[in-house]
């Protein structure tokens, strides 16, 4: 259930859009920002609030990479898996992150700090491989640089970079 305060803020946001459909992605983003991720309950709240079928909203929520329908870690790593990054070794970066955090693509680290998900081309191909962590874009990635970005320099080796 939306709290009255949540409603006030959502009403404000909705007033910027000509139709409820146009407002729906922003409403979902807002809920995600405040609740961490979009639970089934949040989806129903959004559907009630917007007066749209929940199946339709879930279509949006599951379509967009940056809307999360499952709990995620404190920092979400969105690693580009499109062609330029792939050619420039994004697979190597993926394996490195997976090994360092002991997770697979799509999973959250045991300590709840990181979630690793793929993302489509970030428009940053000239500096491939690229990724977004939180709201920040990083490029020309190397394993060392990744450790630095994620603050993992001192945590020792979980096995390093091997196939």
């Amino acid at each position: 259930m939306l709290t009255p305060e949540e409603r006030v803020e959502l009403d404000e946001m909705r007033s910027h859009y000509p139709t409820v459909r146009a407002a729906s992605v922003s409403v979902l983003k807002w809920l995600q920002k405040h609740r961490g991720y979009l639970s089934d309950e949040s989806m129903r709240d959004a559907a009630d609030y917007l007066g749209l079928p929940v199946a339709e909203l879930d279509g949006l929520a599951t379509f967009y990479n940056l809307l999360f329908r499952q709990p995620v870690g404190e920092r979400v790593i969105c690693l580009c898996d499109s062609i330029s990054c792939w050619m420039c070794g994004s697979d190597r970066i993926r394996r490195h992150i997976e090994n360092r955090l002991a997770i697979r693509m799509g999973e959250t680290s045991a300590d709840g700090r990181f979630t690793l998900v793929p993302v489509v081309c970030l428009g940053n191909c000239d500096h491939a491989p690229s990724m977004i962590v939180g709201d920040e874009l990083f490029h020309d990635l190397t394993p060392e640089k990744v450790d630095q970005i994620l603050g993992l320099e001192d945590t020792g080796s979980h096995g390093g970079d091997h196939d």
Binding site: D40, M43, P53, V54, A55, E56, D58, G59, T62, F63
Partner: protein, 916 residues
Amino acid sequence: MPKVTIDNKTYDVAEGRNLLEAILDNKLELPYFCWHPELGSVGSCRLCAVKQYRDEDDKQGRLVTSCMMPATDGARISIADPEAAEFRRSVIEWLMINHPHDCPVCDEGGECHLQDMTVMTGHAHRRYRGRKRTFTNQNLGPFIHHEMNRCIQCYRCVRFYREYAGGEDLGVFASKNHVYFGRFEEGALELPFAGNLVEVCPTGVFTDKTLHRHFTRKWDLQSAPSICTHCGLGCNTLPASRYGTLRRVTSRYNSEVNGYWLCDRGRFGYEYVNGNDRLLAPASRTDDGAPDDWETSTAAIAGILSEARANGTLAAVGSPRASLESNFVLREIVGAERFNPGLADEERRIVTRFLEFLESTSVRCASLRDANSVDVALVLGADVTSEAPLLDLAMTQACRNAGCRLTLTSLRRGRLSKFAADDLHLDPDQAARFGAAIVATLRGTPEPPEALRDSLPPGTHDRVRDTAAALSAARRPLVIAGTSARHRGVLEAAIQVAQALVSTSGGSKEPLVSLALPEPNTLGVTMLDAGEGPSLENLLSAIESGKVSTLIVCENDLFRRSGNPERLANALAKLETLIVLDQLETSTVEGADWTLPVAAAAESSGTFVSSEGRAQRYFQVKAAAGEARTSWRVLRDLLVDSQQEGSEAALEWTATHHVTAALAAAHSSLRQVVEIAPPGDFRLLQQRIPRLSIRSSGRNAMPDMTDVRQHVQPPEDTDTPFAFSMEGYQGRGPTSLLPRYWSPGWNSSEAVNRFQIEVGGPLHGGDPGLRLIEPGDIRTGSDGAGLQTVSVAAVPTGKLEAVLMLCGISEVFGSEETSRRAPAVAESMPPAYMLLNPDTAVSLGVVEDGRYDLRFGIDEEMRELSLTVRIDETLPIHVAGLPAGYPETAWWQAPCWATVEITGQVEQREPEKEQP
């Protein structure tokens, strides 16, 4: 007419077609997935690619998706071009990458559009060796099975469900190769048309769960053209059977009636035919030791009948769910003045009035096709979705595509409400007054009489004005009334609105009218009866006074008609002999002295007249269960054996068409019914039309699961031109005799495009069925100056919160008599309830989902029963809604005021575990 050159041959094409349609209209072959004549083109599968050339000199050409390109005059295309053919082959190869290739265990196999298209494109070699993506399926309720791995992302399902039918709970999720079609969470699909997904989906993602329980491949199904019996619209169906059980029902295309669709009640209500409560053998209550076989029963009953006739104590009740033929023969046995057509009295008055009106007006009775394109519609006192489901789907199209302005007056918010410009929640009395107020406005009495206005909720006057203005400005307005409200005033108002539209427009408008009827032959039996027979009330009095002591009832449960079960039971008990012909155990059968089992519609042949006034023939699909026989045959034997005067003619009635001819000769209003389909002795090249497909693996030995020798001779069949065999005429017969849609290379339901003149249009040879009532040239008709609304008796005095108007709530699943006996439908039916507005619930001190002991007081009578309370904030506060057609509410028929008392609350106990 545009000319299009396809592979160097020139073809004529109708205006406004796309290239794919142009190709299919000319019966050329081109594979496609996402395009559908009713759902349009979206260009998502790319399978329909062809080469298009600028002009004769263009030798290069370019690939285009034919469903997205208009068939303009002079267009030049090639289907056969190697590059185009290779492209189409690769499209299938991509789509098959993730497909599980599980045809042997897939219910779609053998009638799968994906299989057909794969073969058509020539993709025969699988090169992909990688992993396939897999999905988790959902339980979508009792009707539809879900198997997402088979999806090819054509989007037909959501386009039908959401865009076409206005459903909300089926969605498309995720992206790329993970696109998922299903619900937000597991659970039954809410749309009462969800069954069409089975035919719309070109693969085995959505399949028929009821078929799955007794699965048979399409090629082993035995089928014949039939008519749906679960409401009055007369949708065309193809029931199919094997080894004596009915396996499924699919839609039979008729461009005037149901098009490609069926509702879920019509599609899944068939299983009552296989039910354990079928009557299987004649039975008598008399304990005379004589065997109850047909011969002794018929002889004994014939004796009783001739005696009763001699002393003038014989009467009969026919049925709106029995064929014209059966009703006709029954009426011949007892005579017109002793034949009751078997409708509740109020319903009979409504239908009789409707018929009188249709016969004397220039207003056209709307077909479903007409309803698809009206520009203004007014619904008076009807819940279209449950009373006439496919009319709801047609209205949905009118609102979506024709910008139809819809005014609804029904008890509560319903499925169509979201399309309505005005959605009023009124009791039937108020709905009738609302209609009357519109008539007054149309006729230029701007202020409706005060009495009228006062009885409508505040603010309704504006709605009257707006609706009247819209109707006046309309090109093709439609007025719909219902019968489940059991309120004559509603129909009267609808008739007068239509009539006022004719007279005030000087005949320039072509208004349409439609009356939702609950059963397949309500109109037919009323035409046959022509108002000559006694009312049920008079019949009951005659039984009570001993004037009638022998009653014969054909395919009718009188307890659904009477409204006073005790009185009816007493009267029936007073009869010397009650003879009942029916398919299922009913309360009427329980009290019968003689029970005669008769065939269901899928087991017999006959004629129904739909609510549109369209006479349609249905043909026997399978042998009748047990010893059941076709009603008219049983009745004919009784007619002949009881030595009825003039019954010599009946000696000649050995096939359905003989009876059809006799009834057409006897009733001028029905004279055309002989023309609607060829007679039973019709042959093509001296051959019958096979009910089984040429690929049938059963061959001629039906019980081949145990033994391949043919022990059982197929039943003798004089009634139809069909054979219980795969042998016979393999060409195409008349459209009224199409037992399946199949064409070489087209094994799925998409094969129907090979039978249409233009894809999505009428069938080659014309759509089957014949409208019996066409509007006359009468341009004025009765002016109905006095607003005769018939109203529910005045409010009895008493505490207001306890005095409520009892109104029937019609349920898609549950209100119709036979479908509620089908397991899948029974599972979808809400248990009996009392529906209240939340305010009313508060003043009665009841809460939602609580189960209460209730006492209803109508006049002097008291009724006690326990019901669950359900809440709907859109229901008027003075109404208590009770489900119509439920045995629990059989004591009550038409809207009336009643005192409602809560006498206790029923403990909700966990169902006790059975002791081992």
